[in-house]
């Protein structure tokens, strides 16, 4: 299936940080990101590495697994968002129960995708998250008007 690139030709590509302890899962997600016209800014295999990679690469979007060694994804989200409140993080995990999703969203994740990832749905979620990120927040809009 072909996807319309996330950005048009004259715009820079959207840069992704892919975080998953499975090399295989990372490869698969990276392949999808490239099919969407995105660029891989970095990869990490656990939450601790994700925090460090985020600082180094400052990606546009982070695709974050939950169950990982050293530090789980939800805790990594909390750390990243603490230092970078505008970080755009999408959880990508096979464990998709309510408590987990809520906890991730409360810590600052923007969306949740359950594995196995369906490329069409994944693409739409990324587009949605990007459009949300591009839209001015109610506070920012209010500030602009005043």
């Amino acid at each position: 299936m072909e996807f319309k690139p996330l950005t048009s030709g004259d715009q820079p590509k959207i840069r992704f940080l892919v975080v998953d302890d499975s090399v295989f899962a990372r490869k698969n997600i990276c392949k999808m990101v490239e099919a969407f016209g995105g660029e891989i800014a970095g990869e990490a295999g656990d939450g601790v590495a994700a925090i460090s990679k985020y600082k180094d690469t400052l990606p546009d979007i982070v695709l974050m697994d939950i169950t990982m060694p050293k530090m789980e994804g939800i805790e990594a989200v909390e750390h990243i968002v603490q230092d970078h409140p505008n970080a755009c993080i999408v959880m990508v995990s096979s464990v998709g129960y309510q408590d987990n999703i809520l906890s991730a969203l409360q810590k600052g994740a923007r969306h949740f995708v359950q594995k196995p990832v369906k490329p069409e749905a994944f693409y739409e979620i990324i587009r949605y998250v990007l459009s949300e990120n591009a839209a001015p927040s109610p506070t920012a809009a209010g500030e602009a008007q005043s």
Binding site: D21, S22, V23, F24, A25, K27, N28, T67, M68, P69, S93, S94, V95, G96, Y97, Q98, D99, N100, Q114, K115, P116, K118
Partner: protein, 162 residues
């Protein structure tokens, strides 16, 4: 064996195989196991702790692993040992993750530990309080085995001292 605990694993395996490998997984055999688990091909083990306690082993024979490698990563022929291991861990992760989601939404609270490769030929037997069920699923090419040894721990946890 409490089927309420087993059914989500069966449903998830079927759903994940169907989504990833575009085929159905037909249950060919169900047996209760008393002895140690004998690995068939490439296998991964996941342990659960909390309201549901125990472990699950997902085991794929060579033909099924080759098909999964082809469907998941476009690899033709028999995958390398390393690729086969990565595939089994990721498939296990998806099957268990999806089952856990169903069980958690039914009120069971427990932790899933990341999948570990199951490298020894003969594995652990189920404990006295957790019977072991072995399910064999047939795919168009090869077979997948799900070895489940779990028990409902929620009543014991409620009754246990803080």
């Amino acid at each position: 064996m409490n089927m309420e605990l087993i059914q989500p694993f069966i449903n998830s395996l079927d759903a994940v195989i169907s989504e990833i490998m575009r085929c159905s997984a037909r249950i060919a055999d169900v047996t209760m196991q008393e002895g140690n688990y004998q690995r068939t091909g490439v296998a991964a083990l996941v342990t659960l702790s909390g309201d549901i306690q125990g472990r699950i082993i997902l085991d794929m024979d060579t033909a099924a692993a080759s098909q999964a490698a082809s469907d998941l990563a476009g690899i033709s022929g028999e995958p390398s040992e390393e690729t086969a291991r990565e595939i089994i861990c990721e498939l296990t992760n998806m099957v268990i993750g999806n089952s856990v989601t169903q069980l958690n939404d039914r009120g069971f609270k427990f932790k899933v530990h990341p999948p570990e490769l199951f490298l020894i030929d003969v594995g652990p037997r189920g404990t006295l309080d957790s019977e072991t069920v072995l399910l064999r699923f047939e795919l168009p090419k090869g077979a997948v085995y799900l070895n489940i040894a779990v028990h409902d721990n929620s009543h014991e946890l409620v009754g246990s001292p803080a």
